[in-house]
């Protein structure tokens, strides 16, 4: 919500306030810093959404009586229902080794953006319900991102295409095959001269082989590829630097210094999960310094109960002079190194719009995307590479010095949307720094046929327009929506005489095709794919196609005269020809089980980078535009996914929208406020979108995301946002200069989750530089007053936790703010989607939110992320106020929420200082759409209207582990219970476990000196605590940026 939609903020005053230290140190939005009356009123009026009932306004006494009477009557009547009859439907033949009621996990992989990520899919009675990362897979390492998590919702999407269509009328697969074979026979006559195939990036070896076989049979046919969110710049860069396509793989665990040239390698692109984990492994900063005595009580509690409690309690009662090591010190020692030996890697980022990678940067320099090349040239020159001086930047000498000092332990990464020259320069710099073979290795490309996709689709459009195309078959993708706008793919397409489109949705492209065939989801069909390092994974289906979807394999089999051959046989037969294993069956079963095919990583190539000769682009004066895939709906392929639409965008925390991101200074210059509709003119084309002022954005630059403005995407995404593809040309797929903006006069309403709560002037995130940390290891708790309210000041004695004592630690030093936890939690816990209007009222339901804070000045602020789930407070304020005891403490310290007891007073939520409770104001759960039923996790109650809900620490997983351990008469081992958020987290920032076990990872983290509690002064004693963030700025750049 933007309370000051109509007020143009006085940014100068705002800057002055921040400079004078008047505003809050950590702020969520510009309005908060400005302390505008509207913002104040909005925050004060926290219950405005509640006070105005949805059904009528205003309610008078009589209506109130009527409604109350009716409710009581209806409530009484509904209480009289008997339980409806329920049936149990057993198998006719139960599969072997199958235990009804226990989920099975299958290894498979999801392909997206030209590489596959290995996943483990949870299946309940044959229904896939949840996606997890495959720890054995090189791209996943056990983690997953929100696209993987939400892919299971896409599987059950009722808007998916459900029938083969011929000119819009329902037809059949058999009729399609017959029509296709006719085309095939006609093509035989002229060796396929008029036949064109359009695919997305193909990494499936089997599909690649099938297409190549097809092209052998019809040598005149052509294969084109177009991936809207493809890595066109990276391809061209490698081609330019090495004269051939190569696939760079970075080994960030070996890198002490990383320079990102507009590369968001932590949150998107190939290997992002692997990179994030390796990056985080260099920032864990575990020390052997424990917390100070006074703030150690959090840990002490855990010691009152254990087997040798008297001894420990004695130790705890000793004075600080006592030299006997306290338990927390022992734990800390076990976990880490002396504080002087703590090292962190260092990340420099230059980018136009803030990204999760930029948020992790120790030095972030906002600059226009077109200025990055100049920066790269200058950095290269400082390193003695390339012949151009580039654009001088104040930071370059220091960065170059840092890189040189860490030669062989550093890496320069160019962003996918940067032009070829930047990539080539990055490759050349890495080579001169001795990084090749250490922090970066080059392998053969993993694509079946690496091509310049822009040239590829350009050629196709040329042929279409020239009338050379008789038959066009498109496999996936949505080129009418996503192809470069200057190609006018829509009209070109209609010049092909016979057009067929295989896709998940009956979308913009299907509309203009003679034939539309529903595509099988990756969870429904057999295939194979490759990880970024080339490792192959067999894609195995979890369920029969829900809507009789077909895969590309089936169409190519039919074209090869093998109609009816199953994709399983196709993939298996292909691999039979590829492998010389003594026993193919063992190879096949082992690879399926493990989710990776051994020894299939792409071969490492020895290449020498050639620096480009001359700059390829000049940073233009004036405004420029940057075009990127949307953070949550990607290139539009996830537009109809409610989880992703409602997932707050990591940078702006807006939902259900795309926006024109603009920097505060540029907005000020043009008199633009957040929410103002802007007409953006670029190369003679125009789109209208609403502005969002984003601190930290480069000046004179706009960032817009494609993936919105759909017209045939499904019920959720049509007519929301604007279509940024309308500005995307083949010459500049990442955007370019010469943009004009004009206020259209209209305003747009954004549903943002960031204003609904405010931390006033508290310090929710705590930060120190590495140097400060070494001087004051306890900086996180140092400023806390000496316990104004001592914990023991209570009428009741402390509860003794004799069994387990669950707790969570969240390491802000490694959290990249990617929001995978939010969607993983949504998938695991059957959390409903509420829609834009409800989000606007602060009624979003996600149990774990990722707060984003800015610090410092509004033009170049630091960015911090903080995931906030339920804190499971020891002194939980919510528990005290529930009139029906629907939220109470468990014997293991979990703050329980009992849905069947809850009567919906919402007192608990009002009394929660962390605002982590979520209320079902309306019946958000979709009870009508049958296809969502199999999606839901059967181990978690599906909530309906009038019930409060919140994070349960994934109690269903705790209970499952507890039952298994109890059956075996043992304790739950550390790491046996992993909540959904922690399991998805790419950087393992979230750790969960038993605090009663001093050896558990979570107990060791909580013993760390950086450990602190959110709002500690309220004496809520949260079970979820945070490890403070450390930054590692270059001392030589001390004054350069905040």
């Amino acid at each position: 919500m933007t309370p000051s939609d109509k007020t143009v903020l006085d940014l100068d005053r705002l800057r002055a306030r921040l400079k004078a230290g008047q505003g809050p140190m950590y702020w969520k939005s510009l309005e908060e810093v400005a302390e505008t009356p509207e913002f104040q009123a909005f925050v004060d009026d926290e219950l405005s959404a509640v006070r105005t009932p949805d059904w009528l306004d205003p309610a008078n006494r009589r209506t109130f009586m009527k409604l109350m009477g009716a409710s009581i009557g209806l409530a009484g009547l509904t209480a009289c229902t008997k339980q409806p009859k329920e049936t149990i439907v057993p198998y006719v033949r139960q599969p072997e080794e199958f235990v009804p009621g226990k989920p099975l996990f299958y290894a498979t992989a999801m392909t997206m953006g030209g590489f596959g990520t290995g996943l483990l899919i949870e299946s309940h009675l044959g229904r896939p319900t949840k996606v997890e990362g495959n720890p054995d897979h090189p791209n996943s390492l056990g983690a997953s991102d929100y696209f993987h998590q939400a892919s299971v919702l896409q599987l059950y999407d009722p808007d998916r295409s459900q029938a083969v269509l011929n000119r819009g009328r329902i037809s059949s697969w058999i009729a399609f095959q017959a029509a296709m074979m006719q085309e095939r026979e006609r093509a035989n006559l002229n060796k396929g001269a008029g036949v064109r195939i359009l695919t997305e990036t193909v990494v499936s070896p089997t599909l690649g082989a099938q297409i190549k076989e097809f092209l052998q049979q019809l040598p005149a046919a052509k294969w084109h590829q177009w991936d809207a969110a493809g890595r066109h710049g990276a391809f061209a860069g490698a081609q330019g630097a090495f004269g051939r396509p190569v696939n760079p793989i970075y080994q960030l665990e070996q890198a002490d210094v990383i320079v990102s040239l507009d590369a968001d390698f932590l949150s998107c692109g190939p290997g992002n999960l692997r990179y994030a984990q390796h990056f985080a492994n260099r920032r864990r900063a575990l020390t052997n310094v424990a917390q100070k005595e006074r703030s150690k009580q959090d840990i002490q509690e855990g010691y009152q109960a254990g087997p040798d409690a008297p001894l420990r309690n004695q130790a705890a009662s000793h004075s600080e002079e006592d030299t006997s090591p306290s338990p927390s010190l022992e734990q800390a020692k076990a976990a880490g190194v002396p504080v002087e030996q703590v090292t962190l890697n260092r990340l420099y980022v230059v980018e136009s719009a803030p990204s999760p990678t930029g948020g992790m940067a120790d030095h972030r320099f906002p600059m226009k995307a077109s200025e990055v090349e100049g920066f790269a040239w200058a950095l290269a020159a400082a390193l003695g590479v390339g012949g151009q001086s580039g654009t001088a930047h104040k930071a370059i000498p220091a960065i170059a010095k840092d890189l040189k000092a860490n030669a062989g332990k550093c890496v320069v990464i160019a962003g996918d949307y940067q032009p070829a020259a930047v990539h080539a320069l990055a490759h050349a710099m890495n080579q001169s720094l001795g990084a090749v073979g250490k922090t970066v290795v080059y392998t053969e490309p993993i694509d079946a046929n690496p091509v310049d996709q822009i040239a590829s689709i350009k050629e196709l459009v040329g042929d279409l327009n020239a009338g050379k195309v008789d038959t066009l078959v498109m496999f996936g993708g949505n080129p009418v929506y996503s192809a470069p706008v200057d190609f006018d793919f829509k009209s070109a397409l209609q010049k092909a005489k016979w057009r067929a489109h295989l896709s998940l949705y009956n979308d913009e492209t299907s509309e203009f095709c003679h034939w539309h065939v529903p595509q099988a989801h990756y969870l429904e069909s057999w295939s194979d794919t490759r990880a970024q390092d080339g490792t192959v994974t067999f894609v195995q289906p979890l369920i029969e196609p829900l809507y009789a979807g077909r895969s590309a394999h089936e169409i190519f089999s039919a074209l090869a005269g093998q109609s009816g051959k199953s994709p399983h046989d196709t993939v298996r037969e292909y691999w039979q020809t590829q492998r010389k294993d003594a026993d193919f069956e063992i190879f096949w079963q082992t690879s399926l089980h493990d989710g990776i095919v051994p020894n299939t990583a792409a071969a490492i190539v020895n290449v020498t980078a050639k620096a480009p000769a001359a700059p390829t682009q000049n940073p233009g004066q004036g405004m420029e535009i940057v075009l990127r895939p949307d953070p949550t709906v990607w290139d539009g392929s996830f537009s109809n996914n409610g989880w992703l639409q409602e997932c707050p965008k990591p940078q702006t925390k807006t939902t259900w929208d795309n926006a024109v991101w603009i920097s505060p200074a540029t907005a000020q210059q043009h008199g633009v406020a957040t929410g103002d509709e802007l007409e953006v003119k670029y190369q003679g084309r125009m789109v209208t979108g609403a502005a969002w002022i984003l601190p930290g954005h480069a000046n004179d630059s706009l960032t817009v995301h494609f993936g919105y403005g759909r017209t045939r995407g499904g019920r959720l995404c049509d007519e929301i946002g604007f279509n940024a593809y309308q500005l995307r040309t083949s010459a500049a797929p990442g955007g370019g200069g010469g943009v004009e903006i004009r206020k259209s006069g209209g305003t747009h309403y954004f549903a943002s989750t960031q204003h609904t709560q405010t931390m006033e002037s508290r310090e929710p995130v705590r930060i120190a530089t590495l140097e400060e940390f070494k001087k004051t290891p306890d900086f996180a708790t140092e400023k806390e007053p000496d316990r104004p309210v001592p914990k023991y000041m209570t009428l009741y004695p402390d509860y003794k936790y004799e069994g387990y004592k669950w707790g969570m630690a969240i390491d802000l030093n490694t959290c990249v703010g990617c929001s995978a936890c939010t969607i993983a939690c949504q998938a695991e816990n059957n959390i409903a989607v509420v829609g834009k209007a409800e989000v606007g009222k602060g009624r979003q339901m996600q149990w774990i939110r990722v707060d984003r804070y800015f610090k410092g000045n509004i033009d170049e602020p630091e960015l911090y992320y903080q995931p906030v789930p339920c804190m499971h407070c020891e002194n939980a304020p919510c528990e005290l106020v529930c009139p029906v005891a629907a939220t109470i403490h468990s014997g293991e310290g979990i703050n329980q929420m009992v849905y069947n007891r809850c009567v919906g007073t919402r007192y608990c939520s009002n009394n929660c200082p962390y605002k982590v409770r979520r209320f079902n104001f309306l019946s958000y759960t979709d009870w009508d759409t049958q296809s969502y039923y199999p999606l839901r996790n059967p181990d978690v109650t599906v909530r309906s209207r009038g019930v409060m809900e919140k994070c349960t620490y994934c109690i269903q997983r705790i209970n499952a582990a507890k039952i298994e351990s109890e059956k075996a008469n043992r304790r739950i081992a550390d790491g046996e219970v992993v909540p959904a958020c922690a399991q998805a987290c790419p950087t393992q920032a979230i750790t969960f476990g038993d605090i009663n076990d001093p050896k558990s990872k979570v107990a060791q983290l909580k013993a760390q000196v950086r450990n602190y509690s959110l709002l500690e002064e309220l004496n809520t004693r949260p079970r979820t605590t945070y490890l403070a963030r450390l930054r590692n700025p270059n001392p030589e750049l001390g004054g350069v940026t905040a």
Partner: protein, 216 residues
């Protein structure tokens, strides 16, 4: 001043006061009786099933163990209902042409599952786990009654929360040796409480009264 009400009105007021109290009492008693009675709880109510399956015959006469059909009772929250294949493992040979078994044969022929009516039906917000109970010495008969004496299946206990809590608060009242779990005819010893306490200690049975034990 003349009296407004006739003397006889006193009777009416007495009747209405006592009658009112009585009426409220009756309503409460009626509601409680209905709630606790088998109208609401379905205790002792036989439900229609696709096949008139007799546990008495299969358990008592044939001596088949519970786990022959309820295969996952020791490992899963769901005890498991026999797949048609399990029925057919015997009934392809014996009673192979009995009319009563036609639905089973039809299921085997067509591949369509039999749809049994649930007799022990817990609300959707309750997560009961068979395996942990069976593994901690709670006998089948403790909850399901003497199934071996039931020609047709019915519920003997309400499965209300207070009924569950009775045992969750004092497991020693009902726990039995693990090897007796599937013994339908097991008789608790005279000193059950003392014996039960010993078993509770031996099996590490906790008094699980946290809400999250069953609700989540």
């Amino acid at each position: 001043m003349a009296q407004i009400f006739h003397r006889g009105t006193n009777t009416i007021s007495r009747v209405s006061i006592f009658g009112g109290v009585l009426l409220i009492g009756c309503i409460i008693t009626a509601a409680y009786t209905i709630d606790r009675g088998s109208f609401n709880s379905d205790v002792a109510v036989v439900k229609e099933q696709p096949v008139a399956f007799s546990h008495k015959h299969h358990v008592s006469d044939d001596g088949i163990d519970c786990r022959y059909c309820h295969t996952s009772v020791e490992t899963s929250h769901f005890a498991g209902l026999p797949a048609t294949e399990i029925c057919m493992s015997c009934h392809s040979q014996i009673w192979a042409n009995a009319n009563i078994l036609e639905p089973v044969r039809a299921s085997w022929r067509t591949g369509e599952s039999l749809a049994w009516t649930r007799v022990h039906d817990l609300p959707e917000f309750v997560y009961f786990n068979h395996s942990i109970h069976v593994n901690k010495g709670i006998g089948c008969a403790s909850c399901h009654g003497r199934v071996d004496q039931m020609p047709l299946m019915f519920k003997v206990n309400t499965l209300y929360m207070n009924w569950c809590l009775d045992c969750h608060r004092q497991p020693e009242k009902y726990v039995r040796p693990k090897e007796q779990v599937f013994n339908m005819a097991y008789q608790p010893p005279a000193n059950q409480l003392e014996f039960g306490r010993k078993l509770v200690a031996e099996y590490h049975i906790q008094k699980l009264t946290d809400c999250y034990t069953c609700h989540r």
